[in-house]
Amino acid sequence: MDMALLNRLKDIAISDSGFIFDPYSGATFNTNETGRFILQLLKEGNGIDAIQSEIRNHFKTSEEDLRSDIYEFINLLKEAQLLPKNFKF
């Protein structure tokens, strides 16, 4: 992942309760525990497969494929301009 993006993600403040503050736009968001978990993994530079397996280790789920949920979340982050539109894993 490119450094500029990593820096931007690093600057985003996420509280334990899922409250997100974007210092660039001043916008505030709320996410759930899964969202917080994924954001943390993105900040650390993980890719889709790593994120999927980390979710499996951490959460109880019987879902076979979590990738569509993860991609949907990435799209929400793009929509919210927390990730650039051209962001790719």
């Binding site: 899922g18 997100i20 916008a27 505030t28 968001f29 709320n30 996410t31 759930n32 525990e33 899964t34 969202g35 978990f37 994924i38 979710i55 951490h58 959460f59 109880k60 789920t61 879902e63 979590l66 949920d69 993860i70 949907e72 979340f73 799209n75 929400l76 982050l77 929509e79 919210a80 927390l82």
Partner: protein, 449 residues
């Protein structure tokens, strides 16, 4: 030992916006409704399918009795008449009949329905702007009460009465200009411009009918009880004027329906259950207005109320099942459920309260709840802050008892089962779900096709 894992929940992201919290700064709470009158929602759906309309006899009876008790405290002679168009499922009509209500009908088929249910003519009120000669004849022969809507109907009634050789007692419908609500002047004779008085004079001169009743229905979902005080005062003063100036004695005054239920109109800011007036506020306004009768006749006129939605809305629930979750182009979550606007026309007027039928967790998110139709207008809630839902989850749509199971239609999907839960916990089907056979039974394919 391993830490127990947190249950997985789909990741979400919700942007904060103003206007989500109530006036106390809290997000509005949603409490799951796992049971309806003691019956588990899940069991009801397993037995009767989804979607499913559920009616609570207990709520109908308690509403009806509450209104009657309040009236009894304040006015000596009153009678409720069940507004058939509000909900004319036989079982519903029978409950109100058993509770002592008469039947208020506005068409020939509603009239026939009441007769078939065993309601005697003497307990039927025939209203409406489009009465046919045949229903007028039936009503006059049997002795039902008719409220005349316009001059042409007055002439028609005279003609039929003449043919039958009778001089029936009738009422006229009057409409008023009121300070706080729009005037429903398309029904009945206007009071302020003198039309109502002309109608009375015309009726008296005709000598074929006897004027004994005055009727009005000032509107529906009237949130301001003082409109009833004003209308009742006007109708009482009119009765007094007819008595004093023309020697007529008005034996009944019918104030129609119109009390609001606890639903929330799209235009309302606060939820209906916080702002809807109580029955006692309406009754107080009406009885204050009736004080203007003051000596207009030696006897009190019989007071009718044709209350519809306020007696049945809260008794009706619609259970539905989540079919899908999706994302709209603006990132908003949408949920598709198996009931829509064709079963729930009232979602055009109200922000219906919708609660999950099972415990839920997770972060609330702005959500659109869509029905199953391939139509843009099939929206049950355009924007509601809602917890995550899974396919197969059940939702209970509340306060749907009025005007839905009469105005529903078969469109794209068939109409579902309707059940009623009795006060002692028995649950029975009161209208069976439609099948393709019901639908095609009335159709013909001409041989030349």
């Amino acid at each position: 030992m391993d830490q127990p894992k947190t249950p997985y929940e789909k990741p979400i992201l919700v942007k904060y916006q103003n206007g989500w919290s109530d006036k106390f700064g809290r997000l509005q709470a949603i409490t799951p409704m796992t049971h309806i009158d003691g019956q588990p929602v899940q069991d009801l759906v397993e037995k009767y399918g989804s979607p499913l309309f559920v009616f609570s006899e207990r709520t109908m009876v308690s509403k009806c009795r509450e209104l009657k008790e309040l009236l009894a405290l304040r006015y000596p002679k009153f009678q409720l008449a069940w507004s058939y168009k509000t909900n004319y499922l036989n079982a519903v009509c029978k409950v109100f009949d058993r509770e002592g209500s008469w039947a208020e009908v506005v068409s020939e088929f509603e009239f026939e329905k009441a007769l078939r249910l065993g309601i005697p003519f003497s307990r039927i009120i025939l209203n409406g702007p489009c009465k046919t000669e045949s229903v007028i004849e039936k009503a006059l022969k049997g002795g039902a009460r008719i409220h005349i809507d316009h001059f042409d109907e007055l002439s028609l009634l005279e003609k039929v009465a003449d043919r039958l050789g009778i001089r029936p007692e009738v009422g006229i419908r009057v409409n008023f200009s009121l300070s706080s609500i729009p005037n429903w002047d398309r029904f009945g004779f206007n009071f302020e411009n003198g039309q109502a008085l002309s109608a009375v004079k015309r009726l008296v001169i005709g000598k074929r009918l006897t004027l004994s009743g005055l009727h009005c229905h000032i509107g529906t979902f009237v949130l301001d009880p003082s409109a009833y005080r004003e209308a009742t005062a006007k109708i009482a003063l009119f009765a007094k004027q007819l008595h004093d100036e023309m020697g007529l004695s008005i034996k009944w005054i019918d104030l129609g329906g119109g009390f609001a239920s606890t639903n929330t109109l799209h235009s309302q800011y606060l939820p209906g259950n916080q702002v809807t007036p109580s029955f006692s506020q309406y009754v107080e306004a009406i009885t204050e207005g009736l004080e203007n009768l003051n000596g207009s006749s030696s006897e009190f006129p019989l007071l009718f109320l044709e209350t519809g939605r306020a007696l049945i809305d809260e008794a009706g629930y619609l259970i539905t099942t989540v079919q899908a979750n999706k994302r709209l182009s603006d990132g908003r979550r949408a949920v598709v459920v198996d009931t829509g606007i064709h079963h729930l026309i009232t979602s055009l007027w109200y922000r219906h309260e919708i609660v999950p039928a099972q415990e839920f967790g997770g972060t609330f998110e702005p959500t659109a709840i869509f029905g199953p139709l391939c139509m843009n207008l099939d929206v049950i809630r355009a924007n509601i802050l809602y917890p995550p839902l899974k396919t197969g989850d059940r939702l209970v749509i509340k306060t749907v008892g009025a005007y839905n199971v009469t105005q529903w239609m078969q469109f794209i999907t068939l109409r579902p089962n309707v059940v009623m839960i009795s006060r002692n916990g028995q649950c029975d089907i009161i209208r069976h779900q439609e099948t393709l056979d019901h639908l095609t039974a009335l159709e013909e394919v001409p041989p030349w096709i």
